[in-house]
Amino acid sequence: MNLPEIFSYTFFIKSLLISLWISLVFSILGIFVLIRRMSFFSDGLAHSIILSLALAFLFNQNFFYFALIGGFLFSCLIYFLEKKSKIYSDALIGLIFVFFLSLGLILMSQKAGYQPELLNFLVGNILSLNNFDFFFVLVVSFVILVFLILNFKKFSLVLTDKIEAKIRGINVDLYEFLFYILLGSTVVLGIKIAGVVLVTAFLILPPTIASLIATSYRGLLFFSIFFGLLNSFLGFLISGIYNFPISASISFVGSIFFFIFFVYQLLKK
């Protein structure tokens, strides 16, 4: 397909818009994930959602209902176990996501026949979003985005310096918990678009590229959003022109940007 042809399809424009929108949410939230070094959390959560997917298949229900509940449970479990247990956080995430994932695969095996939908969830397929999914992603991500923007400084302080946040009268435990829930919900929203395997790339690539260029926190936010949107836009174009998978194209574009700026940084030193 050529460019004018791509933009003549309504479904393509619709999918591009939702992808840009979700990239905006991801690139802001991704900054906090980077600060708190929680990329494995999002990766683990994305894999644990296979259990929700299996239940949605078995009960023939919309994926998002089960996924949001699954994401909420996973986030709560990790949050409370990190506080209460003496196990390293990454080990905890590794153990819990394996439990969710293995149970999901066992349940999945009970449904007879080939399940093409499964591949959509593994690598993502934004074109598989129906009108309900589209609306659902839009509304939930809008709520997340507004909440993030209104509380951006509070989250920044809580995630960089808990003691100072506490002195400034912020309920640190509540905000940390909310952050886990927001992150869990955002990853769930991104799974149909980016896929279980690549959703973390959507979250991590924009702020990581930005951290190579930015000289201030404001710059980090600006470049993270910029590259989040640019990766999505260019990825969509490449995918449309060459008929590549969309999420892989977006992640690939982001990775190329990352390597360019990473090498530039190395040479600069």
């Binding site: 400084k153 960089t160 310096d161 003691i163 100072e164 506490k166 002195i167 201030s216 980090l220």
Partner: protein
Amino acid sequence: MNALEIKNLRVKLGEEEIIKGISFNIPEGIITALIGPNGAGKSILLKTIIGLFPYEGEIKIFNKDHREMLPLIGYLPQYYEVDSLLPLTVYEFLNFSCEDKKRIMEVLEEIDMEKYKNHPISKLSGGQRQRILFGRAILNNPKIVLLDEPMSEIDIVGQKEFYEIIKNLNKNFKITFIVVTHEITVVNSFADKVLCLNRNLICDGPVDELFQEEVLRKLYKREIFIYPFNKEIKDESS
């Protein structure tokens, strides 16, 4: 009025009792030096005052439960790990704690760091970073400021300037300071009161009365000599 009142304070970490039932008062508007050997519970005491540890007993700030009064407290931690990968400028760092841009600039001027406003905090030297942390501690016009070893990364000249800033703030704004320090040779020059802590309270009173070699011997359980150097600093600054 007392800025801080502590009654029968006991703090346990696990099974170990770190602070063993201490009581003292700190009147408003004075500078108190909190001294004691490593592991004496000095940092734990400050952290308990800002509500980070559970305790038995009573902590009151300006006659109210300390948890209600946290916004009136400024705190400079003993250790502050700066994320070297996070591009955060000095101004942005302070802006997380205070929305008032004018006040941030006032404080930067006060601590003589205004030219570093747009400098990444991770690129500052240890001493400069301590100044910024001190700036943050006084940013929201606190009534009581807790400083946990503020001079740990500052050179001798910088230390003298730092003490001058503390003294000026104390004099001009009646801010109460509690300063944890190991620099016992300079305590005489800036503190109005000394608390000696080694899990129990060993001494509590004005510097002149209690800052004696005999007390220090009891506190550190070894011979400590106070060099006349500190006297000189006191004379020079007064």
